[in-house]
């Protein structure tokens, strides 16, 4: 408490934020559906979103790719929406829609003219209540998902890096695989398995309905009750509690890809995104690669000119994730030319406190990012749902900056020492296929 007061007095920007505070109302329906509403009449639009707390980490290891596959399936229609019409309702109403799936969640949204907000409620309640899961949809979307994987992974230079990183970084935890999953698993899955997945995870008590925009809150609440109130609650969803053993030593993996410029990716296991240490690691990554004056960028791209591009970012997930540094070699340079500098910059973070000036700089960067982050209704609805689901505190949308401000220079050094160590990392070396040894006698 004392800390907070002190910070409040210290930063004038705090007052600025308060002035632009995002007000919202939240409550639960009887069936457990969590509702968050933000009213803003500046533009006659509304974002209707539903976050299901199910991602690839909730999948059976023999059925990876299910959560993402579901995202596709749930555009197939419902008892009252004919196959292929889900999209048309929205586009014909002048709206836009889409969805995405991560390790931790599946997120659906409709951006609508505000007079069409109720349409979003209808569609989302249909999706939750009685989605249409049929063989024809399964067959079609199976092929579509394969094309998605070819487009994003197989036909994309370096496209397989995240899959390779997570596979090596986690062995027991379901972060071992990525949301796109295994095509073999999808091929093998039967219709009943899809039904069971829907029953288990697509229940109101595992979802957050978040709406932002030009709405009348009282009226909206009534409509929400009418559309979603009758959906029965399901069994409580239990999130996985897999204990991942320590990595126990550095892993180095070579991947030969259809590329010309080598790249190196280093991934360190991270603590859960809600932890204080995850915030400190976010600050650490800003020191390393936040902007062209950051340490790694300045060193590798501007000074040594060994890298064409370098960045680091915490790939923060609910139960951990990976702190990633990524360096793409300049023409004629090799991984060996870049790697020592990357290691030295990590070591420097561990061995020395960052300067006061640098500390101030990254705080300013965090502030700027935070102040500018909530500028659209879609973004606000999504952030509110995320903060509620992962942190149990939707109001972080207004206060998250405080969590960054709590991080000290010492914290940054400490987390660098604790997490960014070789024993806790996987190094992926991406090399051109032309360099692959031809005579492979090892196997």
């Amino acid at each position: 408490m004392k800390n907070r007061l002190l910070l409040g007095a210290f930063f004038i920007a705090g007052a600025l934020n308060a002035q632009n505070a995002i007000s919202f109302e939240e409550y639960d329906l009887d069936n457990g559906l969590h509702v968050i509403l933000h009213e803003d009449h500046s533009t006659p639009i509304a974002a209707v979103t539903v976050l299901y707390h199910v991602g690839s980490k909730n999948e059976d290891p023999e059925r990876t790719g299910f959560a993402h596959f579901f995202e596709h399936l749930l555009f197939e229609g419902s008892e009252n929406i004919k196959r292929g019409e889900f999209d048309s309702y929205v586009t014909n109403a002048g709206g836009a829609l889409n969805a995405n799936t991560s390790q931790d969640r599946t997120f659906y949204y409709e951006l609508l003219p505000s007079n069409q907000m109720e349409l979003g409620l209808w569609l989302e309640s249909e999706r939750m209540m009685h989605a249409n899961i049929q063989q024809i949809g399964v067959e079609t979307q199976r092929e579509v998902v394969k094309e998605e994987k070819r487009q994003r992974v197989d036909n994309q230079p370096y496209g397989s890096w995240l899959e390779n990183m997570m596979k090596n970084l986690y062995s027991e935890h379901p972060y071992n695989w990525v949301p796109i999953g295994s095509m073999d698993h999808l091929n093998a899955a039967q219709l009943e398995e899809f039904m069971a997945f829907y029953k288990k995870f697509y229940v109101p008590n595992n979802a957050t309905l978040s709406i932002a925009g030009d709405i009348d809150v009282a009226k909206t609440k009534e409509l929400i009750q009418a559309y979603f109130g009758e959906i029965p609650a399901g069994a409580p969803v239990v999130q996985p509690t897999v204990k991942e053993p320590a990595l126990g030593g550095e892993k180095e993996v070579v991947v030969y890809d259809n590329i010309q410029l080598p790249a190196v990716m280093m991934g360190y296991r991270m603590p859960p995104q809600t932890s204080d240490d995850a915030y400190a690691l976010q600050m650490a990554s800003t020191v390393l690669s936040g902007g062209p004056s950051s340490r790694m960028y300045k060193r590798l791209v501007d000074e040594d000119q060994t890298a064409l591009q370098v960045f680091s970012f915490p790939f923060s997930l609910e139960q951990g994730g990976a702190f990633i540094t990524f360096a793409l070699a300049n023409a004629g340079k090799s991984i060996e030319d870049m790697e020592p500098a990357l290691n030295e910059e990590i070591a420097k973070l561990q061995n020395e406190l960052i300067s006061e000036r640098e500390f101030q700089k990254i705080q300013n960067q965090m502030e700027s990012r935070f102040v500018q982050s909530n500028s659209t209704m879609a973004g606000i609805a999504e952030s509110l749902a995320d903060y509620h689901t992962y942190y149990g505190d939707a109001n972080l949308i207004n206060t998250e900056l405080d969590r960054y401000r709590k991080v000290t220079r010492e914290d940054i050094q400490r987390v660098a020492k604790q997490y960014l160590v070789n024993d806790n990392r996987v190094v992926l070396n991406y090399l051109p296929k032309s360099e692959e040894p031809q005579a492979n006698t090892a196997e």
Partner: protein, 691 residues
Amino acid sequence: MKKYIYTLLIALGALNLSAQVEIDRTTAPTPGPAASPVIGAYESFELKNGLKVFVVEDHKLPRITMSLILDRDPIVEGEKAGYVSIAGDLIGAGTTSKTKAQLDEEVDFMGANFGTSATSVRVGGLSKYTDELIAILSDVVLNPAFPAEEFDKLKSQMLSGLKANADDVDAMSTNLRGAALFGTDHVYGEVMTEATVESVSIEDCKQYFNTYFRPDIAYMVVIGDITVKDAKKKLNKALKGWESAEVPSHEYAKTALPSAQRVVMIDKPSAVQSVVWLGNVIDLPHGHPDIEALRVANQILGGGMSGRLFSNLREDKAFTYGAYSNFSVDELNGTFSASAKVRNEVTDSAITEFLYEINRMRSELVSEEDMIAAKASLSGSFGRSLESPASAANFALNIARYNLPSDYYNNYLKRLEAVTAEDVKRVANLYMRSDRMIIAVVGKAQDVAAGLSAFGEIEYFDAEGKETDAPTFLFMPEGVSKADVLNKYFDAIGGVKALQSIEAIDQKMELEVPGMPGKIGIRSAKKAPGMLLMEQSMQGMTVMKQLLKDGEGKMSGMQGNKDLEGAELEALVAKAENIIDELRWLNEDAELVFEGQTLVGAKALYQMSEEVDGSKATHYFDVESGLLYQSVASEEGPEGPMVVTTTYEDYAEYNGVKFPKTTVQSVAGQQFTITLVSVEVNDAVKTSIFK
């Protein structure tokens, strides 16, 4: 008080709450009255040096962006392609008072954004730093230093970027389209290569800056937490020293459509998907009255998840993750295009569907339902775009740049509403030119070229947009041997037994020579043991004749008669040895090598090479039918070695054995067609003809 009564009524059960929110989930809810979208206000003014400024005040968040934008004609970069882009980056890489590192540090310390390009300088950040941001922008515009070491760095980064793009299918597709639509010497088709980037000098960059970075062609767009008054005061002060100068303009001829559909391809052997793009140039400058109708047409065809392309290629056929169409509005030439990334094996089917849907737009009136939906979707997306204050600024900028009426965007929805189904069909015919489209594919030619050639002869390009030869596609198919290929061939023409049972043959043919009247008759006959006749005649007159009988060879014709001896005689004897020539391949000493499977045009073929008396021939057998499709032999001609390509077509059966009815021979660009007229075998072939 009102609330109190309300609660009371509920408590008394007097108010049926659900009556107010009765829903019927079997149908979509009816929308409330639509609010008409309002375009944000902007103000504009001009500085003394001619710089035009637009300000959109938006105080919702304490942030500001300022963009200086140049409005110049496109520039042909030629052998220095890339210099304009390097110049754009170099402008932001240090001023006379600050190094790049200092600039970077200053920008990052504010948590701000800063970037330059060949036609822009942009800064953005928290509005409390407005003065500092303006100072950076004006310093860059007024005092760029063009540091030599930054130039070298940018150049090497550009070269690395080219290497990174070399495996990027999207970058390849962009180069391919540019080359095919406009040609690589056109301002819109130019391709940056290692050679062009290498030849860029720092002087080129300075020259570019001095010529084009002038207030005369510049617009300044300010959006955010600032008042117009402040903006005017601050910008005037900061940029009044920016000197005006006349900027050259460039005019280009409009590009015409090709006379017919073209198929162009970059072969990327590692590709597991084809980037399929169909498109054509259009002539549609800003403000053109067809824009809204084309917008509706494009929306119906491929504007999103409800578009016909998406429904057909993704939701129905599952060929792709997404299929869309698009068009661009441009003062010189825009493009209409449709594209998708599809798996190799459905590449040609996807193109068929693309063409089907485009043609449907051109030949059928779209339904009233489609019209309503497309208009609703477009006006909705216009409404959503207004959430960003940048939209108002962009509209203002476009009105100024393209000389549009000041209410152009305010009337957008009205113009949209006025579009009819007939308009849609008309613009589809005018701008979606499926009859003269470029079909551009980046993918694995080995897998997709055969199917693609159904749409026309494939023109191959390299990754840099230069025309190149067709790839060879040769690979060794698993589990296929030389013997398999030969057996399949002999089985296909009647079987080895049937062939070996032929002891005499007499074939009559006709040869057509382009440009020559009449036909040349050819007769080729053999009979065991050791008899051979080759005769060419015109209008019944023997032009040339070769005869082998009883070990003696004779040649006669218009040039006179002679007895054949030595090598010439030996060749004739060898020819007579196998009544059916191809049976020689069964001899143990035949120098025949199976080289693999390949692709010629749309045909999958087995390739076999043969050495006969030191000269080499390559034979191609149709994988599907087993028949001999083509032989390519190099022969000694009067002017050195010539390549003779012989293609065998229309196999027909004569006495249980198949022979090609048509044989096309091409030599040195000339083509001859030989038609088989008759085939007689065994007893029908009299010994008396060998004389």
